[in-house]
């Protein structure tokens, strides 16, 4: 080798050598997941007196969460470090792949948990947790924490969706009654629109990066009520596509209300204002009486009672109350709800102890008694809950007659459930035909 050649090649060679080293080095550890017997991205954890928990629950609700396990931490000498992030859905995937996952994560979407579980990031549920799930949760709920044939965690809290908020005093004054079938609801809407001379319904789908999600709840309610739980399950698992007539019918039924300029958007303007109105803001027009009907989950009572927002009371005899979105035939009992599943990336002794405690009725009672949430744990004492809407929701959850289905968008893969479905709804409200919207959503379904 002549020295000229050295000079010509030295620098580029050095760069390539370094890059090559980096490549070959990192390539080794890029394999997915780890086995259940420790190692891998789960890191299997260490017994160090600290268990890290990561989730979406933030702010005051996070304080209550920490309060709910404070006594238990004392007794067991384990420090539970809770961290929350609004960007949880994106962060957890990055952290799992990057090998710095928390010990435990609280998943608001079972779909995300099974995504991670199918990539071998999540430890299968330990025996103690599996026993608790078998004893205190219904088969439906256990199914949501299962991927393949393996149970990966236990449910934590729950919420019931599909309430229609209204003003009991306004109903009484006009002689209106709570509808018991979907057709009655449409007739009532028509009557209200004629009586008031303006739109009765209000809706707000705005939610920053998740704009459109309240609309998915509408569609899920209709699919479950019109087509039934079997079709609903097939839809969730993509055995039938979004373009299936059953889904098309449900979307068009929702459109009978939401796309009708005579029915929406009370207090805001035309149909398109649904997208630009934040879902929190609707409580304001509901509270001041500009809007008579609003479809939203049980958590909404907080916004209605907020003096800065709705500034109204909630209860059967108060300013605002709610009825469940009626089924097609009278006497239907299917509801859509949401909740969290607790999955663990580690399997050390301390993490197992914490997950076991979180799946126990002791924890459920401890947390529900602090107010604001409920749990589908059958060991839950209904007396724990205070607010009327939560008591109503617990009744539904603990009623053996109830057909419970988890929010479909939370079960679907993230590419659809927390992205394409949301934006599809937004486009649909803006006037895109429903068949185009549905094929657009379906195209986002992940490749195998």
């Amino acid at each position: 080798m002549s020295s000229i050649l050295h000079r010509r090649l030295a620098a580029p060679l050095a760069v390539f050598a370094i890059a090559g080293l980096a490549l070959s080095g990192c390539a080794v550890d890029e394999t997915n997941g780890g086995s259940a017997s420790g190692g891998g991205p789960g890191d299997a954890g260490t017994v160090d007196g600290v268990v890290t928990v990561y989730g979406t629950i933030a702010d005051t609700e996070a304080d209550l969460l920490e309060e709910s396990w404070a006594d238990w931490e004392e007794e067991n000498d384990i420090d539970i470090k809770y961290e929350s992030s609004k960007e949880f859905e994106a962060q957890i995937g990055i952290r799992a792949q990057g090998g710095s996952a928390p010990d435990i994560a609280i998943f608001p979407q079972p779909g995300l948990l099974s995504d991670l579980a199918s990539r071998n990031y999540i430890q299968p549920a330990p025996q103690e947790v599996a026993d608790n799930v078998a004893e205190y949760w219904s088969e439906d709920w256990a199914g949501y924490a299962t991927t393949g044939d393996t149970l990966y965690g236990a449910p934590l809290m729950a919420s019931v969706k599909g309430w229609v908020w209204y003003s009991p005093s306004e109903f009484a004054a006009n002689g209106w009654t709570e509808p018991t079938t979907w057709d009655e609801l449409l007739t009532l809407t028509q009557t209200m629109a004629e009586t008031k001379g303006k739109a009765p319904w209000c809706a707000g789908f705005g939610s920053e990066a998740a704009t459109g999600w309240p609309g998915t709840d509408w569609v899920e309610d209709l699919v479950l009520r019109q087509a039934g739980p079997e079709v609903y399950d097939q839809w969730v698992s993509h055995d039938i596509p979004f373009t299936d007539p059953a889904i098309q019918t449900a979307l068009d039924s929702v459109g009978e209300i939401l796309l009708n300029p005579e029915y929406v958007n009370a207090g805001y303007g035309g149909v398109e204002s649904i997208n630009t109105t934040t879902f929190q803001d609707v409580a304001r027009v509901l509270g001041n009486g500009e809007c008579s009907l609003h479809h939203q989950a049980s958590f909404y009572d907080g916004f209605i009672q907020d003096p800065e927002n709705g500034n109204a009371t909630v209860g059967p005899d108060a300013d605002i109350w709610a009825f469940m979105t009626p089924s097609i035939e009278a006497g239907g009992n299917a509801v859509v709800g949401g909740g969290e599943i607790v999955g663990a990336f580690s399997n050390d002794e301390e993490t197992v102890k914490v997950t076991e405690y979180l799946s126990s009725p002791e924890w459920a009672n401890s947390r529900v008694s602090l107010g604001g949430v409920l749990s589908a744990n059958s060991g839950l004492d209904p007396e724990s809950a205070e607010s009327p809407i939560l008591q109503e929701a617990i009744k539904i959850l603990q009623d053996p007659e109830t057909t419970f289905r988890f929010d479909a968008s939370d079960l679907m893969p993230g590419a659809v459930g927390s992205a394409a479905f949301f934006t599809g709804i937004v486009d649909w409200i803006n006037g895109k035909p429903s068949d185009e919207v549905l094929s657009q959503i379906d195209a986002a379904w992940p490749s195998e």
Binding site: S24, T60, D63, Y82, S84, G98, S100, E208, Q280
Partner: protein, 324 residues
């Protein structure tokens, strides 16, 4: 670099500095001639731009002192028709925090992340930019273009590999070459990540200035027997200080306002303000009005930095070392 260059006399840096000081003194009469040139139309145009650019921020500023109920129902410009003054937004933000961290702590974290993450890339980038400008080697242009092109790599693509390196280390064929930083819960990861992401742009910008230094200055120093190390430290650094200081301001701003990198690499007790502010809006974003106050609390430090380093801006980012 520029197409039009004044004749460069081979003078040493010391004379040069005196010359520049002299030029600054000469500027006063020039100012007067210039003043006459700025037409009325230009004044009006610049006023319009200034107003357009400031109004949105003014709206936020006024909104940050209004109660949440008024903010969502009336425009901020109706502050006189709908008076309502409150410091609640500010007090709520200042009380923000979680069990591991409060706002004051995160403010210090922001400083502890930003200051080193501004200095590290600047030093490395000046070293590299000097080599690209003044040391000849084969493949130099291609390597430089390669570094420049790296600007386009979206940070999102680099997060996972980098995180993997920090937490699992680096192995070749089953042998750990580097066992991982083991630095979860410390600033080290954030510093390194920000340093890496800033390098391409920093090298690109600084190379522009460093290559503007007249060859004669460098040659003169060489003749005097200075080695590359001395030339870099004694001549190049002082002459490009304006550029370095200006880039430092931008880098400071980017790191101070960054959320994406902080989300991944700064967890728990070392989280910066941006991360805390992003979480204070409540579980469902209902308290977003708090962010109005948050935005102003977090803007204070960048503005202080801007004013403190203002004089370097006046001297000019690309003014080069030899022109007035």
């Amino acid at each position: 670099m520029s197409a039009v260059q004044p004749i460069d006399l081979p003078v040493d840096a010391e004379t040069r500095r005196q010359l520049r000081a002299g030029e600054a003194k000469v500027e006063a009469p020039v100012k007067r001639t210039k003043r006459r040139l700025t037409s009325r139309g230009a004044t009006i145009a610049s006023l319009i731009i200034a107003v357009l650019w400031t109004t949105p921020t003014l709206g936020l500023f006024i909104s940050s002192f209004r109660p949440a109920g008024l903010v969502t129902t009336t425009g901020w410009w109706t502050i006189f028709q709908n008076p309502g003054f409150t410091l609640d937004n500010y007090t709520d933000v200042l009380a923000a925090g979680n069990s591991t961290l409060n706002l004051a702590g995160s403010f210090i974290n922001s400083l502890a992340i930003t200051i080193p993450a501004t200095i590290f890339p600047l030093v490395f980038a000046s070293l590299a930019a000097y080599a690209f400008a003044w040391i000849d080697f084969r493949g130099k242009n291609w390597l430089f273009i390669g570094v420049f092109a790296l600007q386009v790599v979206p940070i999102q693509m680099a997060l996972v590999p980098l995180l993997s390196l920090f937490s699992r280390g680096f192995a070749i064929g089953g042998t750990q070459i580097f066992p991982g930083l083991n630095a979860g819960g410390s600033y080290a990861q954030v510093w390194i990540a920000h340093t890496i992401f800033a390098l391409p742009l920093a090298i690109f910008l600084l190379h522009n200035f460093i290559s503007e230094i007249p060859r004669e200055v460098i040659e003169a120093a060489r003749v005097d027997g200075a080695g590359q190390g001395q030339i870099f430290f004694r001549i190049v650094l002082p002459l490009t200080m304006p550029a370095i200081a200006s880039f430092a301001i931008f880098q400071f701003l980017w790191v101070w306002n960054d959320l994406l990198v902080a989300l991944i690499f700064a967890d728990g007790a070392v989280a910066p303000m941006t991360k805390l502010l992003a979480e204070i809006t409540g579980a469902r974003g209902q308290d977003w009005n708090l962010l109005t106050a948050g935005a102003f609390i977090s803007i204070l430090v960048p503005l202080i930095v801007f004013f403190a380093l203002q004089r370097f801006f006046v001297r000019g980012l690309l003014a080069g070392s030899t022109k007035g």
